[in-house]
C-alpha cells in the first residue's frame, strides 16, 4: 500500500459552502444556455422558424382565398407550430444537451459541482422549452393574423397552450437519447419522434396513451369543438377524456421521462477522455 504524508496543514477558518440549491442551479444553467443560444446562426434558424408557418399560410391562402376557413386555419397552424416548429426547435436545443457540453468542455466543470449533473440536464431542458415556446409564440402571432380567422384570440391562446405542452412533453422525450446516446442524440431523437410520436401515437391502441401527440390532438379537437364533427373511424385517433386529464397526462409523461433521464445522467460515467 502506498501512503503519502505531506506537510500537515492547519486549515484556516473556511466560510461554509452553502448547501446546493437545485432550483437555483437549474435557473443558472438555463440562463447560461439561453445566453449561449443568442448566436447569429441560432437566431437565423429561429427567424426561419418564426416566418416559415406564415409563408405556408400565405401560400395556402392564395389558393383557398382569405380569410381561411376557421377549421382549416386551426389545423394548419397546429400542424405547423405546436408540431413542426416545436419539434424542430427542440431537436436543435434539447438533443445536444450532454454531447454539446462534452464537446465544449463544460460538462467536466459542471459535473464536479454538487448536483451539477441533474442541474445540467434540467437547466438545459428549461432553456430548450423557454426557447421553443418563445419561437413558437412569435410564429403564432403573424400566422393567426394572416389566417384571418374570426376567432383569432381563441385560436392563439389554444395554440399557445398546446405549444407549451408540446415543448415540455417532446423536450422530456428528447432528454432520453441526449443522455443515453449523446453523440447520436439528434438521429436518435428524430427516430424517437417518428416511431413514438407519429407512429405509436397514431395507432388506435393502448400504446398511444403514452404519447404526447394523442394528448395534443385530443386537446385540439376539444378546444376547437370538433368532437361531434369527426367521423366515427377518426374518433379512434383521439381520446375522449376531459382536457384536464390530457394536461395531467402530459405532465405525468414529462415527470417520468425527465426522472428517467436524471437517473441515467446521475449514474452514467462520461470518461474524461474524448471517447464517449
Amino acid at each position: 500500500m502506498h501512503s503519502v504524508s505531506a506537510t500537515e496543514i492547519s486549515p484556516p477558518p473556511v466560510e461554509r459552502i452553502p448547501k446546493t440549491n437545485l432550483p437555483r442551479s437549474i435557473a443558472t444553467i438555463a440562463e447560461f444556455q439561453l445566453r449561449r443560444m443568442l448566436t447569429r446562426s441560432r437566431l437565423l434558424v429561429a427567424a426561419i422558424g418564426i416566418l416559415f408557418p406564415s409563408a405556408v399560410l400565405l401560400a395556402v391562402g392564395r389558393t383557398a382565398g382569405f380569410p381561411l376557413d376557421r377549421d382549416l386555419a386551426a389545423l394548419l397552424i397546429y400542424a405547423l407550430i405546436p408540431e413542426a416548429v416545436c419539434v424542430l426547435a427542440l431537436l436543435v436545443t434539447m438533443c445536444p444537451a450532454v454531447a454539446d457540453e462534452l464537446e465544449r468542455g463544460t460538462w467536466i466543470h459542471v459535473a464536479v459541482r454538487p448536483g451539477g449533473r441533474r442541474a445540467m440536464l434540467l437547466g438545459t431542458f428549461a432553456a430548450a422549452v423557454i426557447w421553443t415556446v418563445g419561437v413558437g409564440t412569435l410564429a403564432l402571432v403573424p400566422a393567426v393574423l394572416i389566417s384571418g380567422t374570426n376567432e383569432a384570440m381563441h385560436v392563439f391562446f389554444l395554440m399557445v397552450g398546446l405549444l407549451v405542452l408540446s415543448a415540455a412533453g417532446r423536450g422530456a422525450l428528447f432528454a432520453l437519447p441526449a443522455v443515453i446516446v449523446p453523440k447520436r442524440a439528434m438521429v436518435a431523437s428524430v427516430g424517437l419522434a417518428l416511431v413514438v410520436e407519429y407512429l405509436a401515437g397514431l395507432l388506435p391502441a393502448v400504446i398511444n396513451q403514452a404519447t404526447v401527440s394523442l394528448r395534443l390532438r385530443s386537446l385540439l379537437v376539444e378546444g376547437m369543438g370538433w368532437r361531434r364533427q369527426i367521423p366515427a373511424e377518426m374518433q379512434l385517433l383521439i381520446d375522449s377524456q376531459p382536457a384536464s386529464v390530457h394536461v395531467l397526462a402530459v405532465f405525468g409523461l414529462v415527470t417520468i421521462l425527465l426522472g428517467t433521464a436524471v437517473v441515467i445522467v446521475e449514474w452514467r460515467q462520461f470518461p474524461p477522455s474524448e471517447e464517449i
Binding site: 503519502v4 496543514i9 467536466i108 464536479v112
Partner: protein, 308 residues
C-alpha cells in the same frame, strides 16, 4: 483525506487504473506519470466523475461519486482547455460558483476575488476566446478555487504555458497549498517539485512509487539517463568524457553525434561545456534523449517489481 483501496477502473477492455492502493493525507500531493499512465482516470475517480470497477475510493471519508457533500469540498481544474469562447472569465467563474450553491451576488464577489487571486482582473471582461493560453489556464484555475474548496485537484495545470506564466502559476498554487490540500497531476517532475508536494508515481495504470518528492528525486537522479551531444568532434569529446567517472556508456550516431549514458546528467553537462571551451570543440546541441523520461519511469517500474 484521499483513500483508494485496490481500485481498478476499466473502460470496456481498456484498463484505466489497475489495483491502485494509496492513501494521501491532508496537504500537497503530486501525481506524476507519462501521458496515458492513468492520471486523469485517477483524478476522475477522486473527483466523483467515475466509479471504480473494483475497489473503494474515499475522499474525506466518503465515496465521491454522486455525493454532493464531497463534491462541494472539491475544486477541480481539468486538463482540457475551456472551449466556451464567447463568455468572459467573470461570467464563467461566476457561473461555476453559482453552481456550487452561492447566490448570484455572492458568486460575482467570489469570482472577482478569485480572478484577482490569479492576476486576471484586467482581462475579466474580455471573451475567453481572446485570451492567451496562460490566461485561459488561470481563468480555469479561478473557476476551481473560487468557491474555496478544501481540496484543489489540478490536471496538468502547467501544460502549454510559457516559462513566465508557468512560474506565476506555480507560485500561485504553492501559495494556495500552504493552507489547503492540493493534488496536482503532471508528466513533468520539475513542474511538481517546486510545490514541495508528496509524490505518487503512476505508470501503466499502476502506482509504482510514492513518497516525499526528495526521495523520488533521488531515485530518479540515480536512474541512468542519456544525453545527446551534437558537435564537430564527437570522438575527441568522447575521449574527454571517458576521463571522468560520470559516463556509464558511450555510442556514436552518425559523424557528429555522441550519446552518453550517465547517472549525473548535470555534472556531465558542466564538463561538456568546459571541454567545449578548453578544446575548442563546436558543440551545437546538448539535449537529454527523448526517451529519458520513459527511461526514468521504466526504471521505477523495474524497481517496483523488485529489479535493481
Amino acid at each position: 483525506m484521499i483513500s483508494l483501496t485496490n481500485v481498478t477502473k476499466l473502460y470496456g477492455q481498456v484498463i484505466g487504473v489497475n489495483d491502485v492502493t494509496v492513501n494521501l493525507s491532508k496537504g500537497a500531493h503530486g501525481l506524476l506519470g507519462p501521458n496515458g499512465a492513468g492520471k486523469t482516470t485517477l483524478l476522475g475517480l477522486v473527483t466523483g466523475q467515475l466509479r471504480p470497477t473494483m475497489g473503494r475510493v474515499e475522499v474525506f471519508g466518503e465515496r465521491p461519486f454522486g455525493n454532493p457533500s464531497v463534491l462541494a469540498r472539491i475544486g477541480y481544474c481539468p486538463a482540457g482547455d475551456i472551449r466556451e469562447r464567447s463568455v468572459t472569465p467573470m461570467q464563467w467563474v461566476s457561473y461555476l460558483v453559482q453552481l456550487s450553491g452561492f447566490t448570484r451576488h455572492a458568486a460575482e464577489k467570489r469570482a472577482e476575488a478569485a480572478l484577482g487571486q490569479v492576476s486576471l482582473s484586467a482581462a475579466a471582461s474580455r471573451p475567453i476566446g481572446t485570451l492567451s493560453k496562460g490566461m485561459r489556464q488561470r481563468a480555469k484555475l479561478a473557476g476551481a478555487l473560487a468557491h474555496d474548496p478544501e481540496l484543489l485537484v489540478l490536471d496538468e495545470p502547467f501544460d502549454g504555458l510559457d516559462p513566465v506564466a508557468r512560474h506565476d502559476l506555480v507560485s500561485l498554487v504553492k501559495d494556495w497549498a500552504t493552507h489547503r490540500s492540493l493534488l496536482v497531476a503532471s508528466h513533468l517532475l520539475h513542474e511538481i517539485e517546486p510545490l514541495g508536494a508528496g509524490l505518487v508515481v503512476i505508470l501503466g495504470s499502476r502506482v509504482v512509487a510514492s513518497g516525499p518528492s526528495t526521495e523520488i528525486r533521488s531515485l530518479i537522479d540515480a536512474t541512468p539517463a542519456e544525453v545527446r551531444v551534437v558537435c564537430d568532434a564527437p570522438r575527441r569529446l568522447a575521449e574527454i568524457v571517458c576521463r571522468g567517472d560520470d559516463a556509464r556508456s558511450l555510442r556514436f550516431e552518425g559523424d557528429n553525434t555522441l550519446v552518453i549514458g550517465t547517472r549525473q546528467a548535470g555534472l556531465l553537462a558542466e564538463r561538456i561545456t568546459a571541454a567545449a571551451v578548453d578544446e575548442d570543440i563546436a558543440v551545437r546541441e546538448v539535449v537529454p534523449d527523448d526517451r529519458s523520461l520513459e527511461g526514468v519511469f521504466g526504471r521505477l517500474v523495474s524497481l517496483h517489481r523488485g529489479g535493481v
